[in-house]
Symmetry: C3
Subunit: 139 residues, 3 copies
């Protein structure tokens, strides 16, 4: 069975956001799948998807702090900065973190670890809504 | 065909470990698949999976050295450090490296390059056994 | 339906290269798939695949500049340098960026965002042709 859906995630402030519930709200079909995978893809090059700790908000703020340090906006060696200092840095963060995640599905649910949740990583100061394509493959 | 299995990887010391054989030992079903993919997922936020060089152990020790430099435990800007200096840094390494890999299957075997092997990257000082979910999709 | 193909990407100079067209030229079968995913896998540990901005060449040159800064070839702490200063650094870049990407397929085409393209990231000074395995799963 293949199920594919496209939807928008609501605009988020710059930073790392837990979006497991917002994604699940768009996937009532998940309960039809006994075993399979869900591929969750973001159709943008300056916002990313990752899986990480779902409980303590300081994990998300520490992520934002860290990635700003490791991909510095005040670097003078970037040429692609037409849209601002958050332009090229967002593309780099996207390639480091990635534009898709894949989650196993078991008995109609995401088979995540106890502490795992889905993050939308918004790298732009004003990113707007973000387009998501989910493809579910399974039986 | 969909095959899904859940198993534990034995506890590893902190660092990068070649686990191709340990994973294959848990997947005798692989030989039933002519063409497909295997999604290998770790249900944790402080250990990662990657594919890299399978021959020289100094690649794995150099990886550990590098990621400790780039994600420094003595950074004073992390807030999420309740479980120790290896707490937040492990979450960051997990998001940089990733919680799943996908390998093509061809004629009943992982279709890896000559030098590719599967790494478990244990970011915690004492990580314990790690839960893995493998989903095989193919024909 | 499962379709699997193996082919070579032509040798590239060190750096980040847009290869969407070169990959599509190898996948005429894509038009048979209404909904599904394409897993694109590189069988090497010193070149990577990612998805990023498809329009401005300075994004690709800024990527090369950035990853050379963050994974420095003049670091004295690497042991695995037998093949040169671009040896261990290439393995690290491969683990940060990744050895595969997955793209949703919709109505016979890659369902990418307007600005998304596929990059081959060649980390070696002389990498040669690169082996790719594409597995398409869908209906």
């Amino acid at each position: 069975m293949v199920i594919q859906k496209e939807f928008l995630l609501k605009p988020k402030s710059r930073g790392f956001h837990l979006v497991t519930a917002e994604i699940l709200n768009n996937l009532p079909e998940l309960k039809e799948i006994k075993n399979g995978i869900a591929h969750i893809f973001i159709k943008h090059t300056s916002a990313s998807l990752t899986i990480n700790e779902n409980a303590d908000p300081t994990v998300r703020s520490d992520m934002e702090t860290y990635f700003n340090k490791i991909v510095p906006e005040n670097a003078t060696y970037f040429e692609h900065t037409l849209e601002g200092t958050d332009d090229m840095t967002s593309h780099i963060k996207n390639t480091i973190i990635g534009s898709s995640i894949i989650i196993p599905i078991t008995n109609g649910k995401f088979n995540l670890g106890t502490w795992q949740g889905i993050y939308l990583c918004e790298h732009r100061n004003y990113g707007g809504p973000r387009k998501i394509v989910v493809t579910i493959l399974g039986q």
